[in-house]
């Protein structure tokens, strides 16, 4: 469950103040955020993910007032409840696939059994790469690893920042399907921000900035 109210944000050395419309999502509900670049899509996503602090307004996720958490609490909250999917950089370069997932769990302070991890890799069709270094993966495998990294710790919210913009139509569809599917399995909210018109039809709940 996500509720934001009168959320505003301003970067330190810039004059522009971003004002965001209120968001209200029930458990398991998805949202597609559309908008031109520079309008503050990523900023909104980072506010929800606890990577930025709002100038004003409130963010409540599962009754937790995220905007008023201390730094340490925020790190902890992010580690346990948020899964982030990025456009291209998906995992730690010096670790292999399985080590990355374990590192994600370690930092998120969660324990998940090896079999569950293996299941997840199998669902995402990257089980055969589990001992490969990140740089040895193909673009598609990397994106799927990114999804695995966002899912492995069973977060309540999955935030995806332009997850498809570097993918071809085929992969684009697959990735979005996977995201929706995995969010459903985990009963998580999925929020995708994009300017990619291809994925518009797949979401019922949309927000235009």
């Amino acid at each position: 469950m996500i509720r934001t109210k009168r959320l505003t944000f301003k970067y330190n050395n810039e004059d522009t103040v971003f004002k965001f419309p209120d968001i209200s999502l029930n458990k398991g509900q998805n949202l597609l955020v559309l908008g031109k670049s520079g309008i503050g899509k990523t900023t909104l996503l980072h506010l929800l993910g606890g990577l930025l602090r709002p100038m004003d307004g409130s963010i409540e996720i599962d009754q937790v007032p995220v905007h008023s958490l201390s730094n340490k609490e925020l790190d902890r909250f992010r580690g346990r409840n948020i899964g982030l999917v990025f456009q291209s950089n998906h995992a730690i370069q010096s670790l292999n696939v399985i080590e990355n997932l374990k590192a994600r769990l370690f930092f998120g302070k969660k324990t998940i059994s090896q079999t569950v991890i293996i299941d997840l890799l199998e669902q995402l069709d990257i089980l055969e790469c589990k001992n490969k270094k990140v740089r040895e993966l193909s673009e598609g495998q990397l994106q799927r690893l990114g999804i695995a990294m966002a899912m492995v710790h069973r977060p309540g919210i999955i935030l995806a920042d332009e997850p498809t913009s570097s993918l071809d139509d085929d992969n684009c569809n697959k990735v979005i399907q996977l995201l929706i599917e995995q969010a459903e399995i985990n009963k998580a909210n999925l929020i995708v921000i994009t300017h990619d018109q291809r994925i518009k039809p797949l979401f019922t709940n949309k927000l235009e900035l």
Binding site: T42, T43, H46, G49, L51, L52, N71, K72, D75, R76, R78, G79, R80, I82, L84, F86, Q87, S88, N89, A91, I92, Q93, S94, L95, E99, K102, A103, R104, L105, F106, F107, G108, K109, M149, D161
Partner: protein, 436 residues
């Protein structure tokens, strides 16, 4: 998975940076430790070799030369002194022990020293096998000599004239081994001990041939040991070879000469008076080994200091290398670090990770550095043993090792702190939103 594992992975991820950091740091550590150890061992060895000798009396000349020649046995003597005159000193009540020594011959580079039974006492040397020398032409071997040539009790050998391995003629009269000393790790080990009479006798019988060699040739030393009366030098290859053969012209008796007299005092007060009295009132000179060696250290100290400063300079450079490599790591991996933050890692965990990495580099370098220094020092000591026939005990000074380790830790900490400071200021959101 934990911070250590991630650090180890990072440590191995960019081997070139890691290798460079380790290389420079280990070289500087090797130099620092090696120099300290060499300096320390060298001094200890020299100090140790003094045994209980407080003063040495010999012919006039360079006091340092006298000490090097008669106490450390690494230089040629300044000349001879009349035994009678030296004997006069032996009755001084301030003097505890006064031991005459006379030498001028060698066996394959190992000096044959004519002396009395008091000589081994200076070095606490005990007989391991056989007995002490009783008659002329009997010798007792120092541990190194015995081991090197494998002599047994009853074996005989012929000494050569002079102090160098080559150049002197062989004496006809054979010397008989009657005993072997326990190792003392002092200069004793590389000496062949015999009675004073042996030296006198050997040269007495060979008056003729030796005389032919007498070309008085004093161009070697600038010191004023020309003053030393009745001394004979002949230059051969590596230096002045002082002979004790003057005595054979005079037959045994009042004209007997010795090379020097080793003295230990009963009372430290004697250090002030006796040397001055001897230097002013006799034709002999008295030198204080401790004082002369201190002077020597001042000369060698310059070299040691220079190398030490070079080692410090390399240490600073290697810390800069570590700084640069960690700093680049922080920058190159900014995205990875930001990702870890997005996974829930706090700043402290990332700092810890980088500190571990820095210390893995420093620790590896320290181990390699100490090993390198030990190998280096070992070979240098081997060389010294070979050239100077002196076994030196290798000493690792833990106190100094810890000091070096402390310094390295401090420098490394500083460079790590500087390199990873940006982590604490990192703007995760900005890094994550500026994807390639």
């Amino acid at each position: 998975m934990n911070i250590w594992k991630i650090s180890i992975r990072n440590f191995r991820f960019k081997p070139l940076y890691t290798f460079l950091g380790i290389l420079t740091l280990s070289v500087s550590i090797a130099l620092l430790v090696g120099i300290q150890q060499m300096d320390k061992s060298f001094r200890n060895q020299l100090d140790n070799n003094l045994g209980e000798i407080d003063m040495v009396v010999g012919a006039k000349g360079s006091p340092l030369q006298l000490v090097l020649a008669s106490v450390l046995h690494i230089d040629n003597p300044t000349g001879n002194i009349p035994f009678e005159e030296a004997k006069g000193l032996m009755n001084n009540p301030m003097i505890d022990k006064a031991v005459p020594i006379s030498y001028g011959d060698n066996y394959k580079g190992y000096r044959i020293v004519g002396t009395t039974h008091d000589f081994p006492v200076f070095y606490n040397a005990v007989i391991k096998e056989g007995r002490s020398m009783e008659n002329p032409m009997e010798v007792v071997l120092g541990a190194t000599v015995a081991e090197k040539f494998g002599f047994q009790i009853g074996d005989t050998f012929q000494s050569s004239h002079g102090l160098a391995e080559t150049g002197g003629h062989e004496h006809a009269a054979p010397l008989t081994v009657v005993g072997v000393y326990e190792p003392t790790h002092k200069v004793m080990d590389r000496l062949i001990i015999t009675g004073l009479e042996t030296i006198w006798e050997v040269h007495h019988h060979e008056e003729g041939p030796i005389d032919n060699e007498h070309e008085v040739n004093d161009d070697h030393e600038e010191d004023d040991h020309h003053e030393a009366k009745e001394e004979h030098h002949h230059d051969e290859e590596n230096g002045v070879h002082e002979n004790n053969e003057k005595e054979h012209h005079d037959d045994q008796g009042p004209g007997q000469e010795i090379t020097s007299l080793l003295v230990s005092f009963r009372n430290p007060m004697a250090l002030l008076n006796i040397p001055r009295t001897i230097n002013e009132n006799t034709n002999m000179q008295a030198a204080l080994p401790k004082f002369e060696l201190e002077r020597l250290y001042q000369f060698t100290g310059v070299g040691v200091k220079t190398i030490t400063w070079i080692a410090y300079a390399i240490l600073v450079i290697s810390c800069i290398t570590i700084f640069i490599s960690l700093y680049r790591m922080v920058r190159d991996r900014a995205f990875d670090l930001a990702l870890m933050r997005s996974y829930g890692a706090n700043r402290f965990q990332l700092v810890k990770m980088m500190v571990y990495e820095g210390f893995m580099i420093a620790g590896t370098a320290f181990i390699i550095g100490v090993l390198l220094s030990q190998i280096g020092v070992y070979f240098i000591f081997e060389m010294i043993t070979d050239q100077y026939k002196q076994t030196m005990s290798l000493q690792l000074e833990y106190k100094e090792l810890f000091q070096t380790a402390g310094l390295v830790v401090l420098m490394v900490l500083l460079s790590i702190a500087l390199a990873i400071y940006p982590i604490t200021k990192m703007n995760i959101s900005k890094i994550l939103s500026h994807e390639k």
